[in-house]
């Protein structure tokens, strides 16, 4: 599907308080297009608590429940249970959380909701930081990235949330990137039609958080995929399929670009290049991505 073929329907309406170039707002538009009006969204503390606009206004034309930071998945279980008692299986429950609320503080509730089979879509828009509080390190922050709490660069690699979720063996798990809005749309649309817990993670490059120009959000989302720093895949009933350029990289039909191409454009990695190149850490990052792809290949049975 091409972008021009997306539905014209909009439930992301004017008045949003998002930053210019905000990836979450781009992703929200796709989510609303894919699901339509019949949804209830549960939002924990994250940038969307602001993006949705400030009382007494809203920029979302759908019912929304704000909830505490760690509680999106649990509150969604309550919403889904209530809808079941009313026989409303036509309404999609969507938890919409950032990486802090997913990887870190909300992980326990998320795991619980997946394990007990809550019928909802949990979408994590991953900008790899606590952005709403002003760029602090999260479990999703990549190695060596500057944040206000890792001023010399993060000393650990990010955790693989997609793998943690896969260990729950839920019907649908997907990773996508806002660099490919049609991929976001397609995956959300697919998840909507599946019963049970669904997880979609959208890589969401954040201009002020990653320190790049606000016009480059989509480009940064694409480069992350082309360099292999992020992978597009979907797992349906434990069967994994890589999508788009990630599929080409996986099958060796496209060589992944050097990760530097992506790092160099982000101020948060500037210390790896100036005043002099930090060869050690650059190699560690490259090696880590190689290791990740070896693992991906082993998942699909391609030995390398």
């Amino acid at each position: 599907m091409a972008i021009k073929d997306l539905p014209l329907e909009e439930h992301y309406i004017p008045g949003s308080a998002a930053c210019p170039g905000c990836p979450a707002s781009m992703a929200l538009r796709m989510v609303f297009k894919a699901i339509g009006k019949k949804m209830i969204m549960v939002v924990p503390a994250c940038c969307t608590s602001v993006i949705e606009s400030l009382h007494p206004y809203t920029s979302f034309d759908i019912p929304l429940l704000n909830i505490a930071f760690e509680a999106a998945a649990a509150a969604s279980s309550g919403v889904a249970a209530a809808l079941e008692t009313m026989g409303r299986d036509d309404i999609t429950v969507v938890a919409w959380a950032g990486d802090g609320g997913t990887y870190d503080i909300g992980l326990q509730a998320l795991s619980g909701a997946f394990e007990r089979g809550t019928n909802f879509i949990y979408i994590c828009y991953n900008n790899q930081i606590y952005s709403n509080t002003g760029i602090q390190r999260s479990g999703a922050t990549p190695y060596a990235a500057w944040t206000t709490t890792t001023v010399g660069g993060k000393t650990e690699f990010r955790k693989e949330m997609g793998e943690i979720v896969q260990a729950h063996h839920i019907p649908y798990v997907a990773q996508t990137s806002i660099g490919y809005p049609e991929d976001v749309y397609r995956k959300v649309k697919k998840a909507k039609e599946i019963k049970g817990p669904k997880y979609i993670e959208i890589l969401a490059p954040c201009p002020p958080g990653w320190r790049f120009d606000m016009s480059k959000t989509a480009e940064m989302g694409k480069l992350a995929v082309e360099t292999g720093a992020w992978a597009l895949y979907e797992v349906e009933n434990d069967k994994i399929t890589f999508n788009g350029k990630s599929k080409l990289i996986l099958e060796g039909k496209m060589k992944r670009k050097p990760v530097e191409d992506w790092l160099k454009l982000q101020g948060r990695f500037r210390h790896l290049f100036v005043p002099e190149r930090d060869e050690k850490r650059l190699k560690e990052i490259e090696d880590h991505i190689d290791m990740l792809w070896r693992r991906y290949r082993s998942w699909v049975g391609i030995e390398k």
């Binding site: 009006k37 019949k38 949804m39 209830i40 549960v42 608590s49 602001v50 949705e52 606009s53 400030l54 009382h55 007494p56 206004y57 809203t58 979302f60 034309d61 759908i62 019912p63 929304l64 429940l65 704000n66 909830i67 505490a68 760690e70 509680a71 998945a73 649990a74 509150a75 969604s76 279980s77 309550g78 919403v79 889904a80 249970a81 209530a82 809808l83 079941e84 008692t85 009313m86 309404i91 326990q108 509730a109 795991s111 619980g112 394990e115 007990r116």
Partner: protein
């Protein structure tokens, strides 16, 4: 039926036709949620049971369910209650009708599973209405009443019904379980409110507010809490008309007529205090007892009305605010500020230590001397304390 306090609570939730239960096990509450699981399993109760992974999630799920229009129930105790504290504030702030059973239990460390009211009383500022029944029968009646109060459009605040670990939770007594049709008449199914989430009338619930709006939201919670006093009394009367039992609304007045001295307390040891009052009355002492049935909203006027002509009050409580004093005493003293009544405050039964009617008689005798000598201890007395050096 012969029921424990916990089973009475489960029967109450069933009679209230709760349709979403989200709960996590914790001693001494677990029997409630086991019984409810059993009711659902054998088809006696038509409800969704969310077996959450924590109490925090239990309350979050209740909030989600209530926001969409369900009638949720949960129960917890002690550590679990404190763990869900953040969501208690959320539930009240979101103005959602939710009823929760709290089996009061001491907080660790050191570990203790026995009764202590500090768990629920530490949550008294969350906006929840808080009831303290005295018996298994009252647990059942209060939970049914609580749904009616909580769902009243003038209230729309969550309610905690709190009863003592073991003394009430695990003690069996004869409990009159009402007929379902009578409860259905008393408590119709839950209404849809203006702020119930609805795809046909979309709005955002709980968006960020600037200082120009937040204060009003808080004021309305306080206003609703105060308005609930009238509703609590009315519901208690209405309940009486159908079921033949009432509890005095916010406070129970036990032999308060012509009393010179009053005990004030709440929870399980109220029964022993009543026994002590009877025995002291037989010996000629003009003594009565105010049982606080509802600590939020705080029944200041009800208490003042009963207390205006007495010579002294003895407050006995199973809770403490470190560095200050008994929580109940502090509240009562502030309510009685203008009356200048001598008050002696006792801390007793902490962590489930047994206190019986003989103890209350001893407490009275000591206090009686203090009142007559006009020598009122300023500090709370830790009754039965074994000082360990």
């Amino acid at each position: 039926m012969i029921l424990s306090g916990n089973y009475a609570a489960a029967y109450a939730a069933k009679l209230a036709r709760v349709n979403v239960i989200a709960a996590y096990p914790i001693t001494p509450q677990t029997q409630i949620i086991e019984k409810l699981a059993e009711f659902i399993e054998n088809g006696e109760l038509n409800a969704r049971y969310i077996r959450v992974e924590s109490e925090h999630s239990a309350m979050a799920a209740c909030i989600g369910a209530a926001a969409v229009g369900a009638r949720p129930f949960t129960a917890t105790a002690s550590q679990g209650l404190i763990y869900m504290s953040e969501m208690l504030w959320w539930a009240a702030g979101a103005r959602l009708p939710i009823v929760m059973g709290v089996v009061t239990r001491a907080l660790a460390p050191p570990w203790s599973i026995w009764s202590d009211h500090s768990d629920i009383l530490s949550q008294r500022d969350t906006g929840w209405l808080i009831f303290f029944p005295e018996s298994a029968q009252e647990v059942l009646d209060t939970i049914i009443q609580a749904y009616k109060i909580s769902e009243d459009e003038e209230v729309l605040l969550p309610i905690a019904v709190a009863w003592d670990a073991f003394y009430i939770s695990h003690s069996y007594e004869v409990v009159d379980v009402p007929f379902q049709r009578n409860v259905d008449n008393f408590l119709p199914s839950r209404k849809k409110y203006k702020h119930t989430l609805d795809i046909d009338n979309p709005f955002s619930h709980g968006n960020l507010v600037f200082p120009e709006y937040y204060m009003e939201y808080r004021y309305y919670i306080d206003d609703a809490s105060n308005s609930s006093k009238k509703i609590i009394r009315e519901v208690d009367e209405e309940y009486y008309k159908i079921f033949g039992r009432k509890y005095g609304g916010l406070i129970e007045r036990y032999r308060c007529d012509n009393a010179e001295y009053l005990f004030i307390s709440l929870g399980a040891f109220s029964g022993d205090i009543k026994e002590a009052v009877d025995r002291l009355r037989n010996r000629g002492y003009r003594v009565g007892f105010i049982r606080i049935r509802c600590i939020r909203p705080f029944p200041s006027n009800d208490i003042k009305e009963v207390m205006k002509d007495i010579n002294g009050a003895i407050i006995i409580e199973r809770d403490f605010s470190f560095g200050k004093g008994g929580i109940l005493s502090t509240e009562i003293k502030s309510a009685l500020y203008s009356l200048n009544i001598p008050i002696i405050s006792y801390i007793a039964g902490i962590g489930g230590r047994d206190v019986g009617y003989e103890d209350f008689i001893k407490i009275f005798q000591f206090s009686y001397k203090c009142f007559n000598l006009e020598n009122i201890p300023e500090k709370p007395i830790w009754y039965g304390l074994r000082v360990i050096k």
